[in-house]
Symmetry: C2
Subunit: 503 residues, 2 copies
């Protein structure tokens, strides 16, 4: 047992993190294998662990240790890992100390039960089943934001949890050119004479074989199944239980393989990040992901920059054809490639193409901001959603299950999370560009089945750093320029101009 | 929030129990779905929860509350639920307060890692892989026993955990007539001209169908799958995560159905008990099982008194034949019934027939007692096991995987657990007899597919009482006589005399 303040601080912080990782298993189990009858007790378990974790992280002793550790020689160099650990622990301690334990407990209990209500509501296409829970979890998070405080608006107090240092005002500025470029590109695509044939992706593809194929691919790109697994759930997600134990989930339909396939690549991107965090720093900020935005950058990078590339399918298409000969034996790789990159406004975010994807995010960003700021009542959400959806996509959801009930996030109380997806797209485009400059022609490497050099480069540049740098700083260090929209816009224009023959 | 001492005590005890139930999920997951790479972190999680649970249960405040609650009006009647709750909490508080937290943490961490070592050792048939872990966990439990104290021998200090009020000396006395009767009955069976044909149970039975069949049966006898599930593991077990969430496991082989089938009935017996505990008393002793012996009485009752009865198969045999026509279409029910009750000394305890079963227990009881008392070195266990096994069963295990490595219990440090199986057999025979006196001809009821009257009777007499009565007192209350060997011996002699045509 270390008897220095810094050492004691890290040790106690680690205990809280281990306890929190027990809660991760409760959450994973709730989505995968928990019998329906276990929901009420699961809520009690979540509530208790939330209380204990909160008490441990906001214990007065932590405050004393944070103060005492500031004198430690190791933290005097602000570029050191130790300084970063202390900075992040102090940030979390100060934030959570402002939030009453009772509020955290209530949030955990409510989130667990609201999740069950959301599932039922989505199955029954009934917003009314979910709306009282949405109201309750929204109120709790507004209370949290008020307790924590903010400069400009409620939204920022929650955004800080997912993307430290980010603000709604800055996001609006950052997102505007992405929106313009997406709308412009979509317009040109719709006018294009080229129409990729989506029907060729459909057939009868046994789920067992889909599962085996996607496991092969996930392993080939660097997801370690000795330290992970892939299960089936309603809503795909990735959860790290701890070092050596990172779990992905997806959902399958027999009629098409690509929905499950790309969702596994997406989650495997999260998983590869988690598996690349330094295991010996588990429990310290240096052993945690930098932010949710950086996390999404990795899921989007592996899903889109890798998984939807020409080189990737030059390598894997033969295997896919052999796995589902009835569907793909007679389909050329070029047509297949165009089909998996087909751009088409559609109802469901997780199935969206790269060009329309961010429009789904901007809709959620605006609506959740309006709810948090009190400009949109929960009861009015379905109407507001459908109206905005029609304006942006030219489609109207036939029901709320395919509208405002489609995503799990709000049921958990994850308001202000959605922007991290677009931040992830921005970061991913910049980071992938930098990787190409360092590693040479990645598309050719993928065509040869070489994915591990990219994974290892990312381990070095991103994963291995944990939360040592703030997200914007991390991206700037890797790419040599601040976060901006140019690389993402260039990527979208480049890839889709080629596919759609645009000039 | 109650502000009386009794109420506060119960609330804090309940929190510790909820925390412990998180550990139950960690344990279940470790056996079912945890990836291999997660073992080290899982041990850290177990160790932390063990510490927190131990600290909470032995907190000085608990001691103060126990003292203060003694003046509560509700506990003055020693027959009240409140008095029983206080009695059991005091017993546990006093016991665990004598055990240093560091020892509990070390035990939890060691047990988790020893379990992994045991699995590997069993797979590789290598006692050497396991023996250092066995030594370590044995030492830790001896230290615990020494800390707790005992009147006569180390064994009693551990037995108290599983069967409050029981001692090794009393077990020796109680078990002697069972041993004599089992050996005598086995001798007469071996001399009998009647030889049930075991080969008729073998065939090719797809695991999927076995699983569906056994789920139908488990539900029919009263195991609720809305509040439970059945998975596959190396070693079958039952785990309650909480009210509404009780999980069974088993292992299948395609060549025969009855191994998995009876193991599910056994675990379903545990599960039916857990599901019958009063949910609103969760976290109080009145919401917990009375003892491991009483628990085993229910697994053995449902497995043997119900599942191996004539009436049970009069009801289910048609379904079984329809499920596996290739194997059973041409087999008469009488021959089938004799086959599933065939008596034959064999190597594996969990596959043993009712007559030889207790001989497996007596062997383990004697050897673990010798290890705890220092009369048998860990290194000498395989030799002692094989020698004793040959003496009792006329067989020599071909390897330790089928000898002293076959059971999971010692790897967890569960020394002094095995006798609860034979206690369970004793209790089960007495309780089942009492049920028959109350409910009429149970065999006829089973033949009509009526199992719920028995389950509901057991809920009333056993499950609903939780740990309100000490085990021996509970059995005596139900049966009107103290625990003894007569009913079990009468049951074995009756059933097997009929099957083997003994006089």
């Amino acid at each position: 047992m270390p008897n220095d303040a810094y050492g004691e601080l890290l040790e106690r912080w680690r205990d809280a993190r281990i306890l929190d990782s027990c809660d991760s298993l409760l959450g994973w189990d709730q989505e995968t294998y928990m019998p329906a009858g276990g929901a009420a007790h699961r809520a009690e378990q979540h509530a208790l662990l939330a209380r204990l974790v909160h008490e441990e992280r906001t214990d007065a002793r932590i405050g004393e240790l944070v103060e005492a550790a500031a004198d430690d020689e190791r933290v005097q160099d602000p570029a050191s890992v130790e300084a970063a650990n202390l900075r992040e622990i102090r940030r979390e301690f100060e934030r959570w100390s402002k939030v009453p334990t009772s509020l955290q407990v209530e949030r955990a209990r409510t989130a667990s039960l609201a999740l069950q209500a959301w599932k039922q509501a989505r199955n029954e296409n009934s917003f009314e089943t979910f709306s009282p829970w949405l109201q309750k979890i929204l109120d709790l998070r507004v209370q949290e934001a008020e307790a924590v405080g903010y400069d400009t608006e409620v939204y920022d107090a929650l955004l800080e949890v997912y993307e430290p240092g980010e603000t709604a005002a800055h996001l609006i500025e950052l997102f505007a050119p992405v929106r313009d470029a997406s709308v412009d590109l979509l317009g040109r695509i719709r006018e294009s004479a080229h129409r990729p044939e989506a029907g060729l992706l459909e057939g009868t593809m046994p789920i067992e074989r889909q599962s085996e194929f996607v496991r092969r691919v996930a392993e080939a790109i660097g997801f370690d199944l000795h330290g992970g697994r892939i299960d089936t759930t309603t809503h795909p997600f990735c959860s790290r239980i701890g070092p050596g134990d990172v779990r992905l989930t997806t959902r399958y339909t027999e009629r098409e393989f690509h929905g499950a396939f790309f969702s596994v690549l997406h989650e495997a991107g999260h998983g590869i990040y988690e598996q690349g965090l330094p295991a010996d720093a588990f429990g310290a900020p240096a052993g945690e992901a930098a932010s949710y935005g950086v996390h999404e950058s990795q899921s989007r990078l592996w899903e889109n920059h890798v998984g939807r590339s020409q080189g990737f399918w030059r390598h894997f298409y033969g295997d896919l054809q052999a796995t589902f000969p009835d569907t793909f034996a007679g389909v050329g790789r070029g047509d297949f490639y165009s089909a998996v990159n087909r751009v088409e406004p559609s109802l469901i975010r997780v199935d969206a193409d790269e060009v329309t994807y961010d429009l789904h995010i901007f809709l959620r960003f605006d609506l959740e901001r309006a709810m948090l700021n009190g400009d949109l009542a929960v009861a009015d959400l379905p109407g507001a959603w459908n109206e905005r959806f029609e304006a942006d996509f030219g489609l109207r959801p036939p029901g709320d299950a395919q509208g405002c009930l489609q995503d799990i996030h709000w049921s958990w109380g994850s308001f202000a999370y959605f922007p991290t997806y677009t931040l992830g797209n921005l970061y991913a485009a910049q980071i992938f560009g930098a990787a190409g400059r360092d590693l040479g022609d990645l598309d050719e490497a993928f065509a040869r089945g070489e994915f591990l050099p990219l994974r290892d480069w990312l381990r070095d540049k991103v994963y291995g750093n944990g939360a040592r740098y703030r997200p914007a700083e991390l991206v700037e260090r890797i790419c040599g320029k601040p976060v901006g929209a140019q690389d993402l816009i260039a990527h979208l224009n480049g890839r889709y101009s080629r596919i759609y023959g645009l000039t």
